[in-house]
Amino acid sequence: MKKKILKKTRAGLRPGFRLKIWTALALLMLPLSVWADDALLVYTEGEVDVDHGYGKREMAFIGDPVRTGESVITGATGFAELERGSSTSITVQPDTIFTLEQTASEGEEREVMRCTLGSVAYRFQMIRGKEPYLVTPSAAAGVRGTEVTVTAADDGSSLFVVQSGSVEVEAQGSTVTLEADEGVEVRPGEAPGEKFEVKRGGIDYSQWREARREAFIEDPVAAALALERRFNSLVAKVEELTPIYVESKRWLEHEREQMKEIELEKGTEAKWAYYQENVFPLEVEAHNAFVTLRYWSKSAFSLRRYVLGRMYLSLKTTYIDDLENPNFRGFLAIYQKILSTYEEKIIPQLSNRDLI
């Protein structure tokens, strides 16, 4: 009897209405999945801010959430620990900019944890779904059940050191797989270097950052050229993805128009059938194309804002009494080229909210 009632109730719903509920649930899942990716600040020490975007930056407190799109910025003595669920622990060291973002890969959304400057240690105990991307200005890494420390230097170089598990570090189309107690350095615009063995506690990350900084001050033109190579590779990716996104959006609009015509000609049921079969897959495709395009655009933005910005500051203030110095002039010429490409190719992909 119960079965019969259930059947009758199910049959009693109009198919279009069932589809609407299904679509509404699917749409509801989008913000829920974003919410599920939030991290929670479980410990802070010294100066720790959360940058919510659009110029809203606040002092962080234990218990504050850090949402997708937000950054944790630590001061000279700042230190923060974040947790995502019970499986992911993130330790943000002093002088670090760490951002939670997302991208899409193989049709699925993928979490991005970006360390733009400074040092971040990650511990992933159990990864549900797609493993997150760990991103620095010069490389991206996929992880599998891992403890890994990622450090980004002032010149855009990065250092990946694996404590346990396995990490695949990718840069400029080349990949290096790191196992426990292995590390690799990646210079901007270059493939990952040779991997090296790491003794526990054998790496002083702040010393490494200082060494990279000194190398940059020593030869700023070479550092700027390397950064320009990396920046241009990100721009090329944006340029490759832009027409794909534009085309998927165009197709989506076309199919939505078709759906309206089908409703007029064949009724609501036919419309929803068309939606499920033709429109919804295109909505997913357009969404993924958009998220991926944003990921690459924001990678270029991070490089320009945080890495190039600090490089400029370092050199301008170093040479404040000698602004005609060839080191500064040489750097300035490359700097201005990057800015001009950024304004022309990257800015159109970003919103005002992204810029501050």
Binding site: Y312, T318, I320, E343
Partner: protein, 178 residues
């Protein structure tokens, strides 16, 4: 110049009114007008944001010049501007002052040329870029003020704001402008 604050201004006005009683030769209308002018001057001065008071701005420049890098970084807001850059971290502020302190006399004998409230359209004075436009539209700090100074290194444009222990803080610097 000493600014008495709102309470001080009220007391001075009251004193002026008392004086009027003792001097009946002065017409009461004239005395009232004078009192009102005094009140306006004093309340006007005290309500001027600290970032727009010449003495406070001079005090900031003096402290940036005389303090060490750490003290100067403490007087620098984050985010802050350097030419066309928006710098986001405390370390950036420290780095900037560590380097600038190596250039002796950068702010020695600095002379304040002008003080004007900053408005969004002023972004081009730092850089004609989208980043700067959005910063000036959306993220200008409290009581933003543009201060032009002349130093032995040339002219600099400062963005100062708010107050910290009674003096404004530095939120941006451009220069030397040639």
């Amino acid at each position: 110049m000493i600014f008495p604050g709102k309470k001080g201004a009220a007391a001075l006005t009251a004193a002026a009114a008392k004086k009027t009683e003792a001097a009946p030769v002065i017409k009461s209308g004239v005395t009232l007008t004078a009192a009102a002018v005094l009140l306006l001057i004093f309340t006007g001065c005290s309500s001027l944001p600290v970032s727009q008071r010449p003495s406070s701005v001079e005090s900031l420049v003096y402290r940036l010049h005389t303090g060490d890098a750490e003290a100067a970084a403490d007087l620098t807001d984050v985010p802050f501007l350097l030419d066309g850059e928006i710098l986001m971290t405390e370390r950036d502020a420290r780095l900037m002052w560590e380097n600038l302190k190596k250039a002796p006399g950068l702010l020695a004998d600095a002379k304040v040329l002008s003080i004007t409230p900053a408005v969004p359209a002023d972004y081009t004075k730092f850089s004609d870029s989208s980043d700067m436009r959005v910063f000036f539209e959306r993220a200008l700090p409290e009581n933003p003020t543009l201060v032009e100074i002349e130093t032995s290194f040339g002219r600099f444009l400062l963005l100062v704001s708010g107050k910290k222990l009674g003096i404004p803080v530095l939120a941006g610097m451009k220069g030397p402008i040639r």
